[in-house]
Amino acid sequence: MKRLSLVLLALIVIVPAVGAQGDVVTVTWWMEPSGSDDHVQELIIDVFNASHDNIKIDYQPQESINDQLRPALQAGVGPDIVWLAGNAAASQYVAGGFLLPLTGYADAYGWADKLLPWAYGAGIVAGELYSIPVTYESMVLFYNKTVFEENGWEVPTTADELWSLAQQTADMGLVPFPYGNATWQPSNEHLMGIYLNNYAGPDNVYAALTGEKAWTDSEFAEATDLLREHIADLGWFGGSLEDYYSLGGSDNTAMLASGEGTMMMSGTWMFRGLGPAFEETGMEWDWAPLPLFSEDADMQVGPYSYDLALGGNLGVNAATEHPEEVGVVLDFLLSDKARILELASTTGFGEWVIPLRYEIEDFPPGTDERVLRFHSDFAATTGAGRYGYTAWTFWPARANQQLWEAIELVWAGEMSVEEYLENHAAEWAQDAADGLVLSILPRE
């Protein structure tokens, strides 16, 4: 009897202990495939799983994630952590009540001190933080350094110099700006954003974003018409408007790397693809800030500025059964700058540059000088208040889609610039009426 009691006592003590050890929570994470998923698995997921006994991450890259996420969340079977295609998409999910407010985590873990203020602020909807950014980007002027040196060209620092060089290269039979939207139609917004910010000026764009200025104002009309002239009349992008519609991402890079094209207005995600393309041709690339396109003093914020951009966000499914564990996972992402920069380095710093408060010393040894120069200058320039706004980060969904889609009607001569901007203002008003205009931090 005594022996039986001892056995029972042992079972009472041991069984719960075994159960507690086996009580592992799995946090599922859906992510847009990025071509870096093996590195994410190795550098983030495996490291996390090895260092946490009771939480495991199940990382699942999902093809066509935009199409899958909505029905999954509606059906209540979505993952714990969700990838969102930008702030506009996040705000739609927030409106539907599908995302968990993250303000509690942010306060507990001090995320506001870890993330860049503008990037942290971009995840706020109606006073609550709902998402954290995956990577930050900006728009710059890439150029073929070899071709520039061979021709004795200086890097343009003013609009006059830029347009003059574009015309000169076009006259030589080269493509001034190799670019096309064949593989991603919304690429139009890259150019629209650049022209709105660099011609009308970031202050005016901010005023329009916050409802203090009309999208139909002359600065925006002139900016839109300037792009129309460059892309449709002069054929500077891709070589002609029809080429622009026929060329995709790899074509653009190949043209710049071969010297067939000379400059490219694009995002810093290009850091990833330029290296391999230029290695093939044996030429060299470099980048410079895009000059402002207008000399109107009212529009100037300095010699140049950088447009703020985020490439995707992470949110938390409101129906998650593991909110505490999800918070631990997200904080793990935001807590080790060296680990994130190591991951970003596998993409040439084109992806996975979570907007943490990096110092230049944080970047791993051997980081490309051009990448370091960008991050250093971006921090200094935006820190001085010289920054603009990209459409996919700061525009609500409907107005954003109209911005990049209807502009093709303007380029085709089927719609006037005025009508296009009137429609844009109407779309914006509709988004505002539905409470979907995104909150933006006041300009410093």
């Binding site: 909505r70 739609q92 539907g96 029809e242 622009y244 519609y245 409907r398 889609q401 093709e408 009607l409």
Partner: protein
């Protein structure tokens, strides 16, 4: 004797009822499945089309407002007109090629299977592969046209998918390239059902090959031909994949069709209610096409 007959009739009737009942029982799973995957979503779509709904937020009932918006939406009408062009294109070019291919194949014995396989292969290749293949072949800088231009042969280096004048036809060409081989196989199978005697009589009467095709083959395969025409018209309403993959409806909506317009409304603009309204009109168009065929059939058309 009379009792026996009555009894036999009774048995027959009971057997018939049992037979009918068992038919319904066997059909029940299919009916249930269709209810779940077709009828219920269809009814839900009709309801959604009368709401303002992002697909995520609380739906707001707006009656017929989405349909009123459709009437005044120039892109909707442009898309619809492209569906009409798409349908006409597929009712003519692939059908003509399919008929010709099948007729020519029916006249040969050696290597016929090789040709059949060759014609049919594009049909079984994924649309993603087909579109990438043609995007490369028609690439403005390293495609066939560009190569010919380098050889001094001008006029072929056109931007098929980049020009608003050719984009729709370019995509239709690629889609028909993958589709016409399917029609060849269907028509060839039908042609083998035509009685050989008819051809022999036609030959004895001195009919040429074209006359045999016109007066023997075509009437002989008429039900199959009409069926494929009906299916082409129905399939043209939700045309999507090749357009989405090659042009995404661009440039400047030049190749936009109802399917791509609906998709963009739903997934880029989060206007699921409006997208559902577009979907309802697509269903109505399909219903009209089917109704026309049913009416023609009831009027005695051999279709």
């Amino acid at each position: 004797m009379a009792f026996k007959i009555d009894s036999r009739v009774g048995v027959t009737t009971a057997y018939r009822w049992r037979n009918i009942l068992s038919n319904y029982i066997f059909l029940a799973p299919v009916v249930a499945l269709n209810l779940i995957v077709i009828v219920i979503p269809s009814l839900t779509s009709i309801y959604i089309s009368m709401n303002k709904w992002s697909g995520l937020n609380q739906p707001e009932f707006v009656g017929l407002a989405n349909f009123e918006r459709l009437i005044n939406d120039p892109i909707y009408w442009k898309s619809l007109s492209h569906n009409v062009i798409w349908t006409i294109f597929f009712l003519t070019i692939p059908v003509f090629m399919g008929l010709m291919g099948a007729f020519l194949l029916s006249g040969i014995k050696r290597f016929q299977m090789v040709y059949r396989v060759a014609f049919f292969i594009p049909y079984v290749i994924a649309s993603v592969v087909n579109t990438e293949l043609w995007r490369t072949l028609l690439h403005p800088r390293h495609g066939i046209g560009a190569w010919l231009a380098k050889q001094g042969i001008e006029g072929f280096d056109i931007r098929v998918f980049g020009s608003k004048h050719t984009a729709l036809y370019g995509v239709a060409f690629v889609d028909s390239w993958h589709f016409w081989g399917f029609l060849v196989i269907v028509y060839l199978a039908a042609m083998y059902q035509v009685q050989p005697d008819l051809y022999e009589v036609a030959i004895l009467e001195g009919a040429s090959r074209f006359q045999r095709f016109r007066h023997v083959t075509v009437p002989g395969i008429r039900p199959t031909l009409v069926f494929t025409l009906l299916m082409i018209m129905i399939w043209s309403v939700p045309a999507f994949d090749y357009i989405y993959l090659l042009t995404d409806g661009g440039p400047a909506h030049a190749s936009e069709v109802l399917g791509t317009y609906l998709y963009n409304m739903s997934f880029f603009r989060f206007e699921v209610g409006y997208a559902a309204a577009i979907g309802v009109t697509m269903a109505l168009i399909t219903a009209c096409i089917v109704a026309i065929f049913v009416i023609l059939r009831r009027r005695g058309w051999e279709i």
